[in-house]
């Protein structure tokens, strides 16, 4: 089976000549949950934009679900890759939430019934059904962010890219996004998120790709990546709170999530207490 995303020797230079990506190799299998981290300007978004052909490789190849992006338009690649932009205001335009969510599947040539079904399911998943017939501009920014997410989920693509999904969101919204990522994963969708939120990254993703200066500098499970202080320093990333706590306690084994922490704590305390979450 072809991988969901296969990037080989990717180099990308802006029209002005500045090199943003400098030899990226990355293979992501179907169904993986991958978080891409690194400081602003590290090349995260530039790389993600290669996946739906908004930017094309200067050198190297990018293949998404078997399609080489070099020869495909963004409109065509949209059938394989759903991309949720960081700023929902960049894409919402229709008079109702529902019409906006239906824009994508309709562009992809889905039938009216299919479009309606997909939109309904996406709105349910993102918890925006309550205001399906409202104007998107009368919603709060957090709600609009969910509408933008729904409008991409409705396209029912095998790969979904989320650009900074938790930025500016309150606790409840972050929780909701964590659940959406879990649901997508359960449905077999490949989820790739660009994020600065290390706690979100640790709780919701199986794999972390750290970037700096246009290259991948670390790639592994959250526990592996967050155990590499030099690379994190290079990526200007502060590990998740739980990782810092474990390090402060001098634990050699990396734990990154609250669950993992409590489990490890009870092991260290001699298993005297009940199982985690009990």
């Amino acid at each position: 089976m072809t991988p969901a995303v296969h990037i080989e020797g990717l180099v990308y230079a802006y029209p002005g000549g500045v090199t943003a990506l400098n030899g990226v190799d990355l293979r992501i299998e179907h169904g993986e949950r991958v978080a891409v981290i690194g400081r602003n300007g590290a090349g995260k978004t530039t790389m993600a934009r290669q996946l739906n052909g908004i930017a094309k490789p200067t050198a190297g190849t990018v293949t998404v679900c078997g399609t080489d992006t070099a020869g495909a338009t963004t409109a065509r690649l949209a059938a394989s890759v759903g991309y949720v932009f960081q700023n929902p205001s960049d894409q919402i335009f229709a008079k109702t939430v529902r019409a906006d969510v239906e824009f994508g599947p309709r562009n992809l040539g889905r039938s009216a019934e299919e479009t309606a079904r997909l939109a309904e399911a996406a709105m349910a998943a993102t918890d925006v059904l309550d205001f399906a017939d409202h104007h998107p501009y009368h919603l709060s920014p957090a709600e609009r962010k969910r509408v933008a997410l729904a409008s991409v989920l409705a396209m029912d693509t095998p790969v979904v890219v989320l650009d900074e999904p938790t930025t500016g969101q309150d606790h409840r919204s972050v929780r909701r996004i964590e659940r959406i990522v879990a649901d997508l994963h359960a449905a077999g969708t490949t989820v790739i998120a660009i994020t600065h939120d290390m706690d979100f990254c640790a709780e919701s993703f199986d794999r972390v790709v750290a970037m700096a200066q246009g290259r991948v500098i670390a790639d592994g499970t959250p526990a592996e990546v967050f155990a590499r202080p030099e690379e994190l320093e290079l990526a200007r990333v502060e590990p998740p709170q739980i990782s810092r706590l474990a390090a402060e306690l001098g634990w050699a084994d990396q734990v990154t999530t609250v669950d993992g922490f409590v489990e490890e704590l009870s092991r260290r305390a001699g298993g005297a207490a009940g199982a985690p979450g009990a």
């Binding site: 409109a75 991309y83 205001s89």
Partner: protein, 261 residues
């Protein structure tokens, strides 16, 4: 999409160091003279004797030539085709091509118009190439331009690039949702305006309130007379030169109208 609203690249020549208002007076003077004096050689002389040497003196000759001709060349071709072939008034016909006729008067009219435009565009480009936009606005405010007008001009010049970036982001976001921007006839293209213009305009207008709050937080429009941190150097000589240039231009026009020049 072209970005940015300034062609200024810095520099330290005499022309660069002049008070921007002086350069503005120069622009006004040559434009008045070029358009007000009724002859073919007069704008040509203004361009060759004043505008072009000014650009060479400032050391921006290459960019000056590229910019001026880039702006004006397509226009000149069209102008000569239009008035060369379809000049409406009666005149000496040099060549007839069916409904089209090449007339001496048509060519003269096109030539005069072309040279005048060359002076106008050239003088402005000289000002823009040698003047920092910030200094231009400071100097104009010093010269009495109301702060609100200065604010609108300065703010617009600075936010346009961000707007262009936003327009690009919107275009990409809709393409990522499967919108094909290249295909289709005029109507199909027209229909795509709403998914693109909608987010651009709505986003911009919702910014207005925050911008207005930010401005009021900075006491913009407070009753006192504003002071200025930056004072653009000026001199009595420059002040005199400004009046002299304008008066010379007006005199040239007057003399021409009276039939002396």
């Amino acid at each position: 999409m072209s970005t940015g609203l300034s062609v200024y690249r810095g520099g330290d020549s005499f022309v660069h160091r002049l008070n921007p208002v002086t350069k503005l007076a120069f622009v006004a003077a040559v434009v008045i003279a070029a358009f007000g004096v009724d002859s073919l050689w007069w704008p040509a002389l203004l361009f060759a004797a004043l505008v072009l040497p000014g650009a060479l003196w400032a050391g921006v000759g290459r960019r000056f030539v590229l910019l001026v001709f880039g702006l004006i060349a397509p226009f000149l071709v069209i102008l000569f085709l239009l008035q060369g072939l379809t000049y409406p008034d009666p005149g000496t016909v040099l060549l007839e091509l069916g409904p089209l006729a090449v007339k001496t008067e048509g060519l003269l009219f096109a030539g005069t118009t072309a040279l005048r435009l060359l002076v106008m565009v050239g003088a402005f480009v000289l000002l823009l190439l040698t003047t920092d936009p910030g200094t231009l606005m400071s100097a104009m405010q010093q010269a009495g331009l109301p702060p609100k007008i200065a604010y609108v001009v300065a703010a617009t010049m600075q936010i346009v690039p961000s707007f262009q970036a936003r327009a690009n982001a919107i275009l990409q976001a809709q393409q990522a949702r499967g919108m094909d921007t290249s295909a289709g006839g005029a109507l199909a293209r027209g229909r795509r305006l709403i998914p693109l213009m909608g987010p651009l305009l709505l986003g911009a207008l919702t910014d207005v309130e925050n911008r207005s709050i930010a401005m009021e937080s900075r006491a913009f429009g407070a009753a006192t007379r504003p002071t200025a941190l930056t004072v653009v150097p000026d001199s009595a000589a420059q002040r005199a030169a400004r009046w002299a240039m304008i008066l010379a231009a007006v005199a040239a026009v007057a003399l021409n109208t009276l039939g002396v020049l």
